[in-house]
Symmetry: C2
Subunit: 349 residues, 2 copies
């Protein structure tokens, strides 16, 4: 790419903004050569931080605003009132072609609402989805939707599958990603009408997608497939349940080890191994949920993210932009619809 | 209780039947004084096992049948064909008053379908639910529905909450159990129409139930409430996701420890602590999902259960029978409906 790639950052979103955002950009600048930034937020605070990272200052433009969407603000409030908010201005920079993607660690619901309003959905996509990359026993799996759409139709799930597959292929580099539909059993007869109808659509041979069929909740961490698709209600609950289980296990482990002097000594010896484990499961490695299906790239970093996590989130936005994620989704869906149409025509002759 | 309590066992259900079933009964007999058993299945195989546990033989009656419902049999097949199956005959013994409860480690879907057909639902309950006890950071939480009802109305969720609360109170002995409704956020505005309507019903002051409001997926293992209510699709996915996460963590832990000689030595020293941890999370301690809302007690033991797990499942059936679980649910719901009716009458005057 000869043109420089610009990413807009909501410098004021998240618990540790603007520090984590600017320091995250500092790290991302080193990781992605030629990257430029549009930093939206309080000029004075951003300027003070930029003074500590002149290399970043050299490739960054600051757009001043003092308005910020708070973590408790309802999406409807963000839509009505946040006209001059750092989040909205960053999104508008993508809409206006000044930046290819936006990254924010702010309020998820507000980001979803504003991103839909400002960027609109891609042609052929009815509803955008929120996707995340989760660690598995075999590597990583793309998991969606995580809460953007609580009630989904079969058509929604079908479109999520297509987007998840393109994401795994273009951003994670999986050659021929397999897609599973989350259900209460793997048998083809299992599940409600919605997952049944979605499975029928996904079995279509003309679709350039490896549909594995139904998978159960434990398939996510087992890494049985590269993409796991579900509605936003189930996906949100499953993701938070997994986070809670992880915390339960590590707390029980700590308590078990503290129980005797000998096991504490054992712990001291095994500590480097255990801290390697912690690194492997470090949420900062998986920071960032991506909104798929919008007319522009939008990545959500964790609200409690630090600089490292924010840099990872920027990395997703860069990869999606460079790989032309959106163009590929649109091309794939329109090709499929064209195939369907020509087949119906042929059938009508 | 002066009359002896009899539990019917599907001696042929589960991967390790009839061995795990008969050995489990042997353990349960010691735990629950005065307990009697009706063992349904292959007389020759059961007899050979009883010969090894004469104390059990003294309090058991065997009802012979060779028909067994397989793990892959669909519920509809079990309903049409399993007329002489060990599972159905055990359920009929409860219906006919020969036993107060039934325990089976067989096919869950078939057990649900047969239990509904044979026992029918309790007055005031539209649909039975499948509940389980899960370990948390503060103790144990009752979690339902786990897959008996994929699509739930607000009324279904309301009834699940009432049953879960009575279960926590009477079987787990929690003095004033709190109930949470699973959702994608804790704010009152979150969620779809169904959980919104269910929350409105549960907020009713006349209900003798401590409604905590909405909880997120990580609240389950955090033990934020004593009862977590959700629809069967979400509950099934969440439970299996938690199981998968547990496996992922312990596998990563094993790999991390194997990585160096020193950490292996540390592991040797910490091994007793780690095996205590394993015991604490041992699924056999939590074996058994209970069907709530049927006109009779029905407990499902894990398909892969061993004798210890099966004995735990028998324990649930015994506790529910002794504590009059079903009577309490019926009384609570009818009292609530009576209050509602008299209030509407008063309002109409």
């Amino acid at each position: 790419m000869s043109q420089p790639l610009t990413i807009a950052l909501d410098a004021m979103g998240g618990d540790r903004a603007p520090e984590a955002v600017i320091e995250g950009a500092c790290i991302a600048r080193v990781r992605h050569a030629g990257l430029r930034f549009l930093l939206v937020g309080d000029e004075a605070r951003i300027g003070a931080l930029l003074a500590r990272c002149p290399e970043l200052a050299a490739v960054a433009t600051v757009r001043h605003t003092v308005e910020v969407i708070g973590p408790e603000d309802r999406p409807s409030v963000a839509l009505r009132r946040g006209k001059r908010s750092s989040m909205r201005i960053a999104l508008e920079a993508v809409r206006d072609g000044e930046a290819l993607g936006v990254v924010s660690a702010g309020n998820t619901g507000a980001l979803m609402a504003l991103a839909k309003a400002v960027l609109k959905t891609l042609p052929g996509i009815h509803r955008p989805a929120l996707a995340s990359i989760v660690p598995t026993r075999r590597g990583e799996t793309v998991f969606l939707d995580l809460g953007a759409n609580l009630d989904c139709t079969a058509e929604n799930l079908f479109q999520f599958a297509v987007m998840g597959e393109v994401f795994a292929r273009t951003v994670l580099g999986v050659i021929k990603p397999t897609v599973g539909l989350l259900n209460v059993g793997v048998e083809t007869t299992k599940g409600n009408k919605t997952v049944q109808a979605a499975a029928t659509m996904l079995q279509d041979d003309r679709l350039p997608l490896e549909f594995h069929g139904f998978v159960e909740g434990d398939a996510i961490t087992a890494g049985k497939v590269d993409v796991v698709v579900t509605d936003g209600f189930t996906g949100n609950v499953a993701l938070k349940t997994a986070e809670g289980t992880m915390r339960l296990y590590s707390e029980f482990l700590r308590e078990a080890i503290k129980h005797s002097l000998i096991s504490r000594l054992g712990y001291l010896l095994a500590r480097p191994a255990l801290s390697a484990l912690r690194d492997r499961l470090d949420p900062r490695r998986y920071d960032g949920a991506v909104f798929l299906g919008l007319n522009g790239i939008a990545v959500k970093s964790h609200g409690a993210t630090d600089a490292l996590g924010f840099a990872t989130a920027i990395g997703f936005a860069v990869d999606m932009s460079k790989e032309g994620f959106n163009d590929k989704v649109v091309a794939e869906l329109s090709q499929w619809h064209a195939d369907q149409a020509s087949e119906s025509e042929a059938a009508a002759l």
